[in-house]
Symmetry: C2
Subunit: 134 residues, 2 copies
């Protein structure tokens, strides 16, 4: 479970960097190069180091940004890649997020982040009612 | 670029299976085992083969489900993993999606899908205005 723990630690470092407004730490967590992408809540995908890191620079430069608390992180690891699904608690609302990491030089670096609003919290029992999710 | 083309083909097969209502084809595209996850629009994350595949069974069993057209797919490949970011056009609205794949036995199998509503289409120039995205 060491890889899972390491990915969970990288995931926690991502939210810690956000909470601290530490742009350098957040930028260093992302992989170098243009093989990274991000889908912010309500946004289309952005691709490439400049666009992704630039978006986070903009977000962290906003003193009115809300705090984000990561909850219920769950790591899935497969060889040199893994991702964490979690909740993001923002201003009393819950978002569903996935953070994807790749092992680069022995460290887990972020390659994709996507966070999206949860319309409502739904119990697992509600999954069986056959209604359209899309 | 063969891996990228192969991942784009797997991505296209995913949307073709959805359009055809072909649950068996869609289920076969997903990786076996419980190392898979999915975040449907407005939903919290679901994890594991039974939960993820079950959610797609429910969706495809709904005759009133909307059609989804994949647009502007862009593949990023890194060793035995890759993902496609794309738009999903659904009933005239655009969603932002990411489909993540792992190479298993020479085939690209889906390991994570996340699709989320786009609040509005925003031009790249709007990225620089410093407003909060979260």
């Amino acid at each position: 479970m060491s890889d899972a723990n390491d990915i969970l630690a990288a995931n926690a470092a991502f939210y810690a960097a956000f909470a601290a407004g530490d742009f350098a730490a957040l930028a260093a967590l992302w992989a170098d190069g243009d093989g990274i992408s991000c889908i912010h809540p309500g946004w289309p995908a952005i691709v490439g180091r400049n666009a992704v890191i630039g978006s986070w620079r903009d977000i962290l430069s906003n003193p009115a940004r809300p705090q984000i608390v990561c909850a219920e992180p769950h790591a899935i690891v497969d060889r040199d890649h893994g991702h964490v699904v979690c909740l993001e608690l923002v201003d009393g609302a819950a978002l569903a997020a996935a953070n994807h990491f790749a092992r680069v030089g022995g460290a887990w670096r972020m390659v994709h982040h996507q966070s999206s609003a949860i319309a409502q919290m739904i119990s697992p029992d509600d999954n069986a009612d056959g209604r359209s999710l899309h």
